[in-house]
Amino acid sequence: VPTVLIVDDHPTFRATARALLESEGFEVVGEAADGATALEAALALDPDIVLLDVQLPDMDGFTIASKLTLNGVRPAVALTSSRDRADFGPLVGQCGARAFIPKAELSGAALSVLFPPPRP
C-alpha cells in the first residue's frame, strides 16, 4: 500500500484529503502544516508520496520539493494547489515534483499515476 505524507496549512483540506485518499486505498502516514515540519516528517516517515501544497506559511512548495528530491528518487512529490498550474509557469517542472494536481481534482486515480514508482 503506497504511503502518503500530506503537507498543507489548511486543516480542512488535510482532513478531507486524508479521508479521500484512505477511502481509495492509500495509507496516509503523516500530515504537516508547514515546510519545516514537512521536511522533518518526510525524513522520519519516508513516504512513497508527498502531497505538497504550493503555498505554505514558512516556505513555498517548490523549495520543499527541491529539497525532498535532491538526492534520490524517493519520495515522489505531487504538488497541489487551489490555483491553476498555469499560474506558476515553469516552476512546477523545475522543482523535481512528479505531478501537479489541482486541489479540486484530487483523487486516488490522480495519485496512482505516481505509484508504483518506476523500478530502477
Partner: protein, 828 residues
C-alpha cells in the same frame, strides 16, 4: 667845425677880392668889369650861402658843395690872370665849377645823389671838368689860338691845335649833355615831387633849370665859336648867381614856416573847435593830408579823433610819422608827408606848439574811444540779453519793469511792450511773501544765486522756474534796479518728479514683492538685497552689501555650478533661470528658483545682474508629498487586492475545494456506506453556508452595495448596525454628495469604527456627517483610550491619502486617555 667854417668864410672873402683884382687887371678878359662883378657875386654868394647851410645842416653835403662851387669858381677865374702860373691853374680848373654845380643841383636838397642816373651824370661832369680839361690843357697854345694876349700855358706838352680843339669840343659837348641830362633829371624830380617837396626844391630847382639852359647855350656857343659866347657866359654867370639866392629864398621860406608855427600857436591859444586842430596843423605844416593820432596808454595804440584805431605808415612809404611827446609822455603822432622829415625843426616846433592842444584832443579821443568801447560793450550786452534763452527782467526800485527780453516773452506770455514801464505781473499770490523777502535781500545788496519758485504767466498758469537775481548799481554804487534771470524748469521738474515716482514705485515693488530680488556686480558683490531677502536669510542689506553672495548664501557644493550659470548670464544668456539652495543665517536650506538678467549701462558695458528668486522649498515639499501620496494610494490599492486574493484563497476557495472533495467522497460512498455519505453531505452543507457568508463579507469589503444604491446615510446605518460598539449616528445632509466624496466619507467612518473596535476599548462612538461652507465634514469621536497616530497606522495614512486626493484634509486628535477624534473636510 665852426672854426673851419670861419676860416673858409674869411678865405671866401679874400678869394672874392682876389678874383676882382685878377679880373680887373686881366689883359685878356672880354668884359673885365662885368666878369669881376658877377665872379665876385658868385664866389661870395656860393661860399656865404654854403657856409650858412653847412652850419644849419652839418650832416648835409649841400653846404660844403656850395662852398666848393664858390672856391672852384675863384680857381677857374684865375685863367684871366696875367701871371702864367695863375693862368695855367685857372686853365686847368676852368671847368671845375661844372662838376661841383652838377653834383650840388642833383644832390639838392638832402645832399645825396640818390638815383643811378644822377650818379652817372655827376661822374661824367667831374670827369669832363678834370680829365677832359687836363687833356685839352696839355695841348692848348692859347697865344696862337684866338687869345694872343694870354700868358704861356705852363703845362703845354706840345702845341697841337687839332688835339686841343678836339678835347675842347669833347668837353663842350659833354658839358652841354651833362647840362641837358641834369635838366631832365630835375624835371622828372619835379613831376614826382609831393606838394611839400616841391615847395622846398622849387627855388633852387628853377634857378638850376635856368642855369642849365644858360650853360647849354654857353657850351653850344663855345662849340660854334661865335661871338655870342661872351654874352652867353655873362648870362650863365648871372643865372648862376640865382642858385645861392634861391637857396637863401629857401631859408627864408623856412623862416616863413616858423612864422606859420607862430601863427599856429596864436590860433591854438585862441581856442579851437574840436577836430579843427588837424586843419590848423595841416596848414602849419603845409600838408593837407596830415593825419593826427592820439595815444591811448591803456591799449598802447594811436586812435584818430573819432576814437578809431590809427594805422601808422611803414618805413619807406610816402607817409611818415612823427611822435609828439609832452613832459616825457607820448601824446600824439603826426602822420605826414615823408619829405617833412627834412624839416624836423618845423615838425618839432609844430608838435611842441600843439602839444597842449594835442593833449586835450588826446583826452577827448581817449574819452571817445572809451565811449566807443562802452557802446560796443553795451551792444554786445544787448545782443546777449536778446539772444539769451533765459528770461531776463529788470525792474526799478518801485518794481516797474525796465527791461524784458524775448525769452521773457516766451516764458511768461507777456510781450515786452505790454509790461515795460508797468509793475511786475509775474509774481503769483502764493509767492508774494517769498518775493518780498527776496526783494529785501536784494535791497540789502545781496545776490540771490538761485532759487526754484513758481511764477505767473499771462494766461494765469504757473510756471516752475529757477531764478537768480542781483541788485543793479549805478557808478556811485547806489542801488538803482533789480535784475532777475529765470529758466523754465517745468519740464525738468516733471521729469524729476516722474523719475522719483518711478523710483519709489520700483523700490516699493522690489521691497513689497514676495520674491527675492538681488543685484550683484561681476565680482558677485551684492548691490541690492530686498526685504524678502532680509526676511528669508535673516541678514540685513547693511550686513551683506558689497559681500560675495556666493560665499555667503550658496552651499559650498553648489557654488561652482552657480558660478558657471552666472558666467553664462554675463556672456549674454540673459534672461535665464537656475535653481539652487540658499543657506539662511540660522542654517536652514531653502530651494530658490532664480531668474537672472544682465542690466547694462548707457555705454553697453556690463553693469550688474539682477536676479529675482522664488522660494520654492514648500512647493518642492508639496510635490514630494504628492508623489509619496500617489505611491501610497497605488500601494494601498495593491495591498487591498492582495488582501482580497488572500481572503478568497484562504476562505471561500478552500471551503469550496473541500466541498468538491467531500461531494466526490459522498458520491463514492452513497450506496456502499449511506450513513457515512449522509454525514459527509451534512458537513458539506455547513461548509457551503460558511463559504456563502465569507463571500458576502468579502463583497461588502470591496464596495458596499448599499452605498451605491441607497446613499451614505443608509450605508452608515448598516455599518453602525454591524459595529460591536454602540454608534450615535448624526447625518445632516439634504442631498446626496458626489460619489467619490460619499465613498471617502464611508471609508473614513468604516475604518474609524474598525479601529475603535480593534484598539479603542470605547464605550460609545459618535459619527457626524454634515455639509458646511462648501465642505463635506465627517467626524468620528470615541471615548476610548486614544493614542492613535495618523503617521503610524497604515489605515489612517491610507484614509488621509484618500481624502487628500480629493483636496480634502484629515485630522486626527488622539491624546492618550482622551479618546480619539477623527475628522475629515472635503471640498464639494
Amino acid at each position: 667845425m665852426t672854426a673851419v667854417r670861419v676860416l673858409l668864410g674869411l678865405a671866401g672873402l679874400a678869394a672874392g677880392i682876389a678874383l676882382v683884382a685878377v679880373t680887373i687887371h686881366s689883359d685878356h678878359a672880354d668884359t673885365p668889369v662885368a666878369q669881376a662883378v658877377l665872379g665876385l657875386l658868385i664866389v661870395w654868394s656860393f661860399v656865404g650861402c654854403g657856409l650858412l647851410g653847412w652850419a644849419r645842416r652839418p650832416d648835409n653835403r649841400v653846404g660844403p658843395l656850395m662852398v666848393a662851387v664858390g672856391f672852384s669858381w675863384f680857381l677857374s677865374s684865375l685863367q684871366l690872370a696875367n701871371d702864367p702860373t695863375a693862368y695855367t691853374i685857372g686853365l686847368l680848373c676852368s671847368l671845375l665849377p661844372l662838376g661841383f654845380l652838377v653834383h650840388l643841383v642833383l644832390a639838392f636838397p638832402d645832399g645825396r645823389l640818390g638815383s643811378l642816373d644822377a650818379r652817372i651824370v655827376a661822374s661824367i661832369a667831374y670827369l669832363t671838368s678834370t680829365v677832359g680839361m687836363l687833356g685839352a690843357a696839355l695841348f692848348l697854345y692859347p697865344e696862337g689860338n684866338g687869345c694872343p694876349d694870354c700868358p704861356t700855358n705852363q703845362v703845354l706838352v706840345t702845341r697841337n691845335d687839332s688835339v686841343a680843339d678836339a678835347f675842347t669840343l669833347i668837353d663842350n659837348v659833354l658839358g652841354g649833355l651833362v647840362a641837358l641830362a641834369t635838366l631832365a633829371i630835375l624835371v622828372r624830380r619835379w613831376r614826382h615831387a609831393t606838394a611839400p617837396q616841391r615847395r622846398i626844391i622849387a627855388p633852387v630847382l628853377w634857378a638850376a633849370v635856368f642855369a642849365g639852359l644858360a650853360a647849354m647855350a654857353l657850351f653850344a656857343s663855345a662849340i660854334t665859336g661865335g661871338s655870342e659866347v661872351v654874352a652867353a657866359r655873362l648870362v650863365t654867370f648871372a643865372v648862376l648867381v640865382c642858385i645861392p639866392i634861391a637857396f637863401l629864398v629857401g631859408l627864408l621860406r623856412l623862416r616863413l614856416t616858423h612864422l606859420r608855427v607862430i601863427r599856429l600857436v596864436v590860433e591854438l591859444n585862441r581856442g579851437q573847435a574840436p577836430g579843427r586842430l588837424r586843419e590848423a596843423l595841416a596848414r602849419a605844416l603845409g600838408d593837407p593830408d596830415l593825419m593826427l593820432g592820439y595815444w591811448l596808454p591803456e591799449s598802447q595804440t594811436f586812435v584818430d579823433i573819432a576814437g578809431q584805431r590809427l594805422q601808422l605808415p611803414s618805413p619807406g612809404s610816402v607817409r611818415a610819422s612823427t611822435v609828439v611827446e609832452r613832459d616825457g609822455h607820448r601824446v600824439a603822432v603826426l602822420v605826414h608827408d615823408a619829405s617833412l622829415g627834412e624839416q624836423r625843426e618845423l615838425l618839432e616846433a609844430v608838435g611842441a606848439a600843439a602839444g597842449l592842444a594835442l593833449e586835450n584832443e588826446r583826452l577827448q579821443a581817449e574819452l571817445r574811444a572809451k565811449l566807443e568801447d562802452l557802446r560796443a560793450s553795451e551792444e554786445r550786452l544787448r545782443a546777449l540779453i536778446d539772444a539769451s534763452p533765459l528770461a531776463i527782467v529788470e525792474t526799478d526800485l518801485e518794481g516797474v519793469v525796465q527791461l524784458w527780453n524775448p525769452a521773457a516773452d516766451d516764458l511768461y506770455g507777456w510781450r515786452s511792450e505790454e509790461v515795460i514801464g508797468k509793475p511786475l505781473t509775474i509774481v503769483p499770490e502764493e509767492a508774494k511773501d517769498a518775493r518780498a523777502e527776496a526783494v529785501r535781500r536784494l535791497m540789502a545788496g545781496e545776490i540771490i544765486p538761485g532759487v526754484e519758485t513758481k511764477q505767473l504767466r499771462k494766461d494765469g498758469s504757473r510756471v516752475e522756474v529757477a531764478l537768480a537775481a542781483a541788485p543793479v548799481r549805478d557808478s556811485s554804487g547806489a542801488l538803482v534796479a533789480r535784475m532777475a534771470i529765470s529758466a523754465d524748469i517745468s519740464t525738468r521738474k516733471r521729469a524729476e518728479e516722474e523719475l522719483r515716482r518711478e523710483r519709489d514705485f520700483v523700490s516699493a515693488l522690489v521691497d513689497m514683492a514676495p520674491v527675492l530680488v538681488v543685484a550683484f556686480d561681476s565680482n558677485d558683490r551684492l548691490l541690492r538685497f530686498n526685504r524678502e531677502c532680509e526676511r528669508l536669510t535673516g541678514f540685513t542689506l547693511e550686513e551683506v552689501r558689497g559681500q560675495d553672495f556666493l560665499q555667503l548664501f550658496v552651499p559650498e557644493d553648489e557654488q561652482e555650478r552657480v558660478a558657471e550659470a552666472l558666467a553664462r548670464v554675463w556672456d549674454g544668456d540673459s534672461p535665464s533661470t537656475n535653481e539652487n539652495h540658499w543657506v539662511t543665517r540660522d542654517g536652514r536650506k531653502r530651494v530658490i528658483l532664480w531668474s537672472n538678467a544682465v542690466l547694462r549701462d548707457a555705454e553697453g558695458e556690463l553693469d550688474y545682474i539682477v536676479s529675482v528668486g522664488l522660494d520654492i522649498t514648500e512647493r518642492k515639499q508639496a510635490e514630494e508629498e504628492i508623489r509619496a501620496s500617489r505611491a501610497r494610494i497605488v500601494e494601498a490599492g495593491d495591498a487591498e487586492r492582495r488582501r482580497l486574493e488572500r481572503n478568497l484563497h484562504d476562505g471561500a476557495q478552500q471551503r469550496l475545494v473541500a466541498l468538491a472533495l467531500a461531494l466526490r467522497m459522498a458520491l463514492a460512498q452513497i450506496h456502499s456506506k449511506p450513513e457515512a455519505a449522509t454525514e459527509i453531505l451534512t458537513a458539506a452543507s455547513e461548509e457551503l453556508a460558511h463559504a456563502v457568508t465569507e463571500l458576502r463579507e468579502l463583497a461588502r469589503g470591496i464596495h458596499p452595495a448599499v452605498l451605491t444604491d441607497r446613499g451614505l446615510g443608509a450605508a452608515l446605518e448598516a455599518l453602525a448596525g454591524r459595529a460591536p460598539t454602540p454608534v450615535d449616528l448624526r447625518i445632516r445632509l439634504d442631498e446626496r454628495l458626489p460619489a467619490p466624496i460619499e465613498a471617502a466619507a464611508y471609508y473614513v467612518v468604516s475604518e474609524s469604527l474598525a479601529n475603535v473596535a480593534k484598539y479603542a476599548s470605547a464605550s460609545s462612538v459618535t459619527v457626524t456627517i454634515g455639509r458646511e461652507d462648501g465642505l463635506a465634514l465627517v467626524e468620528v469621536i470615541d471615548d476610548g483610550v486614544g493614542g492613535a497616530d495618523a503617521t503610524l497606522g497604515s489605515g489612517l495614512r491610507g484614509l488621509a491619502d484618500r481624502v487628500e486626493a480629493l483636496d480634502g484634509r484629515l485630522d486626527v486628535e488622539s491624546a492618550p486617555g482622551k479618546g480619539t477624534r477623527i475628522s475629515a473636510a472635503i471640498p464639494v
